[in-house]
Amino acid sequence: MTNSSTLPDPEGRWSLLYLAWLIAIVASFGALFIGEVMGQTPCSLCWQQRAFMFPLAIMLAIACFRADTAVWRYALPLAALGAAIALFHSLLYAGLIPEGIQPCSQGPSCASAEMTILGLLPLPYLSLAAFLAIALALFASKSKAKS
């Protein structure tokens, strides 16, 4: 077990936490950059995904700092719910769910073609990939604890 901040990490559990945190801060700062700096207004589903990603960036930072590998119990549900919203958003964006049922009556459309960065990568897919990667890393840090 690795409880101290300077002990080695033979099972790679801390590294997995660190990886999850890295993804969360890149995603959080990325969302802030697109929203606040580039001025692209987040749609309502984007807001809901932010509500799950931002706490992950902070919670995992503290967990990494304290080498607290029990954090998956708190962080994994956040990542899973965020992934669920991102999946819904991605299906909407891909047109697999009709736009009529989307809960975005005001503000920018969640299915609009403008939901991309640099006109290339669709933001809902990026969000889904980030949440899934965080969830996987957290899950791996959990299963290694059992073995």
């Binding site: 901040s5 300077t6 801390w14 660190y18 945190w21 890295l22 801060i25 890149v26 700062f29 802030l32 950059f33 700096v37 580039m38 001025g39 930072a61 990494c64 700092f65 080498a67």
Partner: protein, 216 residues
């Protein structure tokens, strides 16, 4: 480096990337805005636009303006103050960027007021009572008309005038120019052809002061 050091360094690095990226992005946007304004300077001032202040003033402020926009309303008093500080040197050319629902109708009231030489009082009335008629749940143009009437507009005449083709032509031309100049927000200001890239009343004042000094 121990883990705690790595965590702190990572956080600091991420933050500095964000701040550095923001600074670089804003600088690049400002450069782009200047290039667009320089390349399409003919789209900035058109002869049909309302002009406030001395028509031959050496310094021209161009404002892309929306009567329903809260920021334009908030900017009006400092703008008037700036004009008042340089009464002989600055003119304001108003271009319409009717982005909101109902803005078109409000612009037409303004244009009709201009025909009656009541542009400024009606503009000030529309801005003053903007929260009343430019409601977010939908514009209430009757209220705008009522306030314009209080400001001295002959409403019957104005309602005949707003159907004139030249008003629609002017509005269309402003819309075309705001597209070609890539105006996405109101108010957007230009001083002697250069965009105000750092938004704010103080920044506008500084820019105008510099141009006035240059002209002297």
């Amino acid at each position: 480096m121990n883990r705690r050091g790595l965590v702190i360094a990572t956080g600091a690095l991420a933050l500095s990337f964000f701040v550095g990226g923001s600074v670089a992005y804003n600088a690049q946007q400002a450069r782009r805005a200047r290039e667009i304004a320089a390349a399409r300077s003919e789209a900035l001032v058109r002869s049909h636009s309302p002009v406030l202040g001395p028509p031959n003033a050496p310094v021209t402020i161009v404002e892309f303006f929306d009567p329903s926009c809260e920021a334009c309303r908030a900017f009006y008093p400092p703008l008037k103050q700036i004009m008042g500080l340089f009464p002989n040197d600055v003119r304001l050319v108003m271009r319409y960027a009717a982005f909101h629902d109902g803005s078109d109708a409000a612009v037409k009231i303004l244009e009709a007021a201009r025909l009656q030489d009541k542009f400024v009082p009606v503009l000030e009335a529309l801005l003053k009572f903007q929260p009343e008629w430019a409601d977010h749940s939908g514009p209430v143009m009757e209220k705008a008309w009522a306030r314009a009437k209080e400001a001295g507009l002959d409403v019957d005449q104005a309602k005949r005038d707003i159907t004139r083709a030249e008003i629609q032509t002017a509005l269309d031309s402003d819309t075309r120019d705001s597209k070609s100049l890539e105006i996405t927000r109101t108010p957007t200001f230009f001083v002697n052809g250069q965009p105000l890239t750092d938004f704010g009343p103080q920044q506008l004042y500084e820019m105008v002061r510099r141009e006035v000094q240059k002209a002297k």
